[in-house]
Structures are given as C-alpha cells and as structure tokens.
C-alpha cells in the first residue's frame, strides 16, 4: 500500500520542484501558462483513454469539461461541506463532484459507442458537446451567455502563494489522473481496452465484455475531463458556455494525436507543447504582424497526420525509449 504510493509521491515532489522554480524564477504569465498545461495534461490523458487506448472516438470532450467546470464553479459559490479553516478540502470535494457528474454523462454518451464506430461515433460525441453548450446557454441559473464570474479559487495559506496553491492543487490531480490511468491500462482492465481497440469481435470471443469495457472507458475518461473542467474554472475564474466549444474538443484530440494514440506520456508531452506553442508563436506574430498561429496549428495537424500519423511517441511510452538505450 505504502509502496504503491512511492512513485506518485516522488513524481509529486518533482512537480513541486518545478513549481518552486516557477514561483521564484518566473513571471505570472509563465505561471498561468503552467497551470493551463496542467489542465491540458489531464484533458489529453483522459481523452487518450477513449481515443487511444480503447479505439473509440470522442469529439465532444469539451462537453464533459463544461459539465465539470459548471459544477465546480456553481458549488464553490453556493455550498460548502467543510467549515472555515478547512476550505481547501471543499475544493477537493467540488472537483470530485464535478468529475462525477461528468462521469454520469460519460455513461450516457458511452451508450451510442456500443452501436456506432469510428466517424459515426465522432459525430455523435460532437453533437453531444454542442447540445451541452446550447443547454448551458439557456440555463439562466448558470448565467446563460453571461457565464459565471468571480469563481473562488483554491485558497492560499500555510505560507503558500496563490499560484503555488493552485499549482499544487492542479499537480495533485495530474498525478492522480496519470497514475490512475496508467495502472488501469497496465492491468487486465487495460488489456480489455486494448483488445476492444484491436478487434472487437475477437475480444468478445475471448470473453471480454466489450460493452462494459467501452462504457467504462467513457465513464473514466469523462470523469477526468470533468476534473480538468473544474480545474480550469478555478484557474481562469470565469466560465461561459462558449469557453467549451468545438475547438476545445479539437484541441484535446490534437494533443492525443500528436502525442501518439495510446501513449500517456506522449499525451503529457503533447499537452505541454500544444499549450506553450501558441504562446511561442506570438513572437512570430510580432514579426509578421498578422496572427498566423491558428494557420500554423491547422497545418501542423495535417502534416503530422501525413508524415507521422502515429504521433510523436506512437503507442510507446516514455519509459520504452529509456529501456532501449
């Protein structure tokens, strides 16, 4: 039990070290970018479980994110489980609940995956994302188009700056997400996901309940997408339905594809790249005068698909490169 926490704990320490460097060596802009990197890491890893490991296809992940974000935002303004002094704990509860509601929707969206494959499923999930967005636009108690602003954020304290508090909170969930998914995928459950991706009919005849496996993939994935949503609500501190549009889902897909379908470390690296690349490209913009970032982004997507369709890592993980060397 304790031993099983060793690696996560060490990784957490590693992230804390990075956080300290950011805290003392870098501007708030780099810091907020780092926070978004954390959110996108969770987003990419969670989508990877569906699109990469299980071979399903979701183009509506922003919808799960939206659900998480709205739950997290709404609860933090209206409800507290723990009294003053322990407010930080409340945020863990909100995040869990946000993820859970997203997981419920993941269960619902998982149902079509039982009957549909490939691009049909992609379109259905896209439709789901749009439905969520339109529904949120029409919900007055959630602010409609006005969104929710002034969302509280993870409280600082114990000598931590606000950035550090947010960063630690985010890192906690990143570690949780990574190790949860990693261990899930490297267990018999994970082999179930893989078998569904490779050949559903063969998987069924080997005794794999493909229905359950697919729904489970969607539920787990939606949970973490919801968590990513909650985190983004606490980091941006303002949400509205348009924040979770189609492009947000595409972002996540791009991260998974770029990192390599099925590679979790690949997703992480891609999340870092995709989050900071647009910021780096701003420097280009200052030279050219026009904003070419999205153009480059779109072009990169097509080129990756043509030149290296398996993504940076393919289905390999970072440690596989290690071993070879």
């Amino acid at each position: 039990m304790l031993r099983s926490l060793k690696l996560p704990f060490l990784s957490f320490l590693g992230l804390i070290a990075v956080g300290l460097v950011l805290e003392f060596g870098f501007s708030a802009f780099i810091q907020i970018t780092a926070l978004f990197v954390l959110v996108n890491m969770i987003m990419a890893m969670s989508l990877n479980l569906v699109n990469g490991t299980s071979g399903q296809f979701s183009l509506g992940h922003a919808g799960f994110m939206a659900i998480g974000a709205y739950v997290g935002a709404y609860l933090s303004q209206h409800w507290a489980l723990f009294p003053e002094g322990l407010t930080a704990l409340n945020f863990f509860v909100y995040t869990l609940l946000g993820g859970s509601l997203a997981a419920v929707f993941g269960f619902l969206v998982g149902q079509p995956s039982l009957r549909l494959k490939g691009d049909y499923l992609a379109i259905v999930t896209l439709g789901f994302g749009e439905i969520i967005r339109v529904a949120l636009l029409n919900m007055d108690f959630l602010g409609g188009a006005r969104g929710i602003h002034g969302i509280p954020t993870v409280p600082d304290g114990f000598g931590l700056s606000r950035f550090m508090a947010q960063y630690l909170f985010g890192s906690f969930w990143v570690i949780l997400c990574f190790f949860f998914l990693w261990r899930l995928v490297h267990s018999n459950q994970g082999r179930g996901f893989l078998s569904v991706r490779e050949d559903e009919i063969a998987a069924e005849s080997m005794g794999v309940n493909t229905t359950a496996v697919k729904v489970r993939a969607f539920v787990v994935s939606a949970f973490f997408a919801g968590v990513a949503g909650v985190l983004s609500a606490y980091f941006v501190r303002y949400i509205n339905p348009s924040s979770f549009g189609f492009l947000r889902s595409v972002d996540a897909v791009i991260m998974v594809v770029l990192g390599g379908m099925g590679s979790f470390t690949g997703s992480i690296v891609a999340a870092i790249l995709i989050t900071i690349m647009p910021e780096l490209l701003r420097t280009v913009q200052q030279v050219t005068g026009v904003d070419l970032r999205m153009l480059i982004y779109a072009l990169a997507l097509v080129l990756v698909m043509i030149l290296r369709p398996q993504g940076i890592f393919g289905s390999k993980e970072l440690r596989d490169f290690w071993r070879k060397k």
């Binding site: 261990r183 459950q189 082999r191």
Partner: protein
C-alpha cells in the same frame, strides 16, 4: 446422456430470403474430436458464428453442458467454456504475443480495478502468475521466445498457432477451430493436425474442427458432419462419410461448377 457436451437442436439461420443454415442438429460428446466439413459456402462458418453467439439463430436451440446458449453474447458463451479461432485470423495485431494470450486470461482474473490502481500485493502476484502461465502456454507451441514480438509480425503459420493458444488460454471445455490449416502446405498441415490431437489430450478438450478439404480431417476425427447448402447431409466416422454417395455428389458438384 450426461456425456453430451454440445447439443445442437435444429438451428436455422436465415439472412433475408436465404437460409445459410437449415435445421442443423448434431451432438458432440465430451472429449470427442469432431470435424465439420463441406464445400465452400456450405454454412460451416455461419454455424460457428451461431455456436459462439456472433449470430443469433433464427430458430432452434443450442445446449452446452445442459444450458441454452441462444441469446447469450459471445463473451458470455466464451465464459461458459466455448473458445474459437477465426478463418481469417483475428489476432490483436498491434499487441505483443504475450498480451494476446493475457487478454484471453482476462475472464479468470480475480483482482478488481481498485487493487490495480493501488497496486496491492495480491494484484502484483496475480499479474506475475498470469505472465508465467502465459509463457508456459506459449512454450508448449514453441512461441515463448517470441513473447514480446508484435503479433502481426509473426509468420503466417505462427499466427495461426497463436490464435489456437489464445483460444486455449480462455480455459475452454470446447474449442472450435475454423479452418486452422488454411494456407498451410501439406507437411505443416499434417503437423498441425497432430498438434491438435495432442492438445486435446493434454488439455482435456473437446474439439470441433471446420475444414473444407475433407481428406485432412479424415485421419484424426472420430465423427464427421458434412454440410452442404446449409443442410446436414451426412454424419458418421471417416469410413462412413467417405463412402457416402451424397457427400461425393456435394463435393463433385462443387468441383464441376468450379
């Protein structure tokens, strides 16, 4: 009749106006090696698909160890103890040889999700045990040295073998082999047939074998069922089938048309 393992009661499969299999009935006793033969398009694979739950028979019933299998999903049937291979190999192509076998073990795994997430001792022990079991099984077929290779990189004959190993790994009572010798030359086929006879003994199995070349099965099958146009035209031992006029006609008819 307690030694009847599989009791197929008049199953029919209708696709639109076409009856692919028509009122097929037969029994397989425990421990038997049975051949299902017939010319191409006779309905052999359709029959397999009904037995394994891929198709639901339009009518009729399938009893396995006394229980009805009709309406169960393929994975449930697999868990009841029927395993199969596929005519057009269906391995998990991008996974390693070892993983292919491990997936087949899945239905017998005891550890739950949470023990995997928490990496409990029992989970780690079970994983290690599964791994050594899988390697042992691969060793029987001499594939243990290729355990970490990607399944699709194996030569054709070994892919066929791996499919059989994978089916065995589900610990079946009955194994259905769909043209296991397809694409093999004569000596390979011969070797394979011997292996099949061998595993039947070693794993205490009942085997149902599809083959469209009847000469192959004659040597090893105790009972042979002949299908033509979805209908059972003959059943019996090799001697009996070989001399049956109907069987000769069915095969000759096909050869003429080819």
């Amino acid at each position: 009749m307690s030694d009847v393992l599989l009791d197929v009661r008049s199953i029919t499969m209708q696709f639109g106006g076409l009856k692919a299999v028509d009122s097929l009935a037969f029994q397989i006793k425990k421990g038997q090696l049975v051949g299902l033969i017939g010319p191409n398009g006779a309905g052999k694979t359709t029959a397999f698909n009904m037995l394994t739950g891929v198709y639901r028979p339009t009518s009729g019933d399938i009893l396995f160890a006394g229980q009805s299998m009709v309406g169960l999903r393929p994975y449930q049937i697999s868990r009841n103890g029927i395993a199969r291979t596929f005519q057009n190999i269906r391995l998990f192509r991008e996974l390693s040889v070892l993983q292919n076998v491990l997936i087949a073990f899945n239905q017998h795994v005891k550890s739950g999700t949470w023990s995997a997430i928490l990496q409990t001792q029992s989970f780690l022990d079970e994983e290690a045990e599964l791994r050594s079991k899988a390697l042992a099984l691969l060793k029987v077929f001499g594939l243990d040295r290729k355990a970490d290779e990607i399944a699709s990189s194996l030569p054709y004959g070994e892919q066929r073998k791996l499919e059989i190993i994978r089916a065995l790994a589900t610990k079946p009572k009955l194994i259905l082999l769909d043209e296991p010798a397809a694409g093999m030359n004569h000596s390979e086929t011969h070797q394979l047939m011997e292996t099949i006879a061998q595993i039947r003994k070693d794993f205490d199995l009942t085997v149902l074998l599809i083959e469209h070349d009847m000469k192959l099965v004659m040597g090893i099958c105790e009972n042979i069922i002949v299908l033509d146009h979805g209908v059972k035209i003959e059943e019996g031992n090799a001697q009996h089938v070989r001399s049956s006029q109907k069987v000769i006609e069915a095969y000759l008819g096909v050869e003429e048309s080819v």
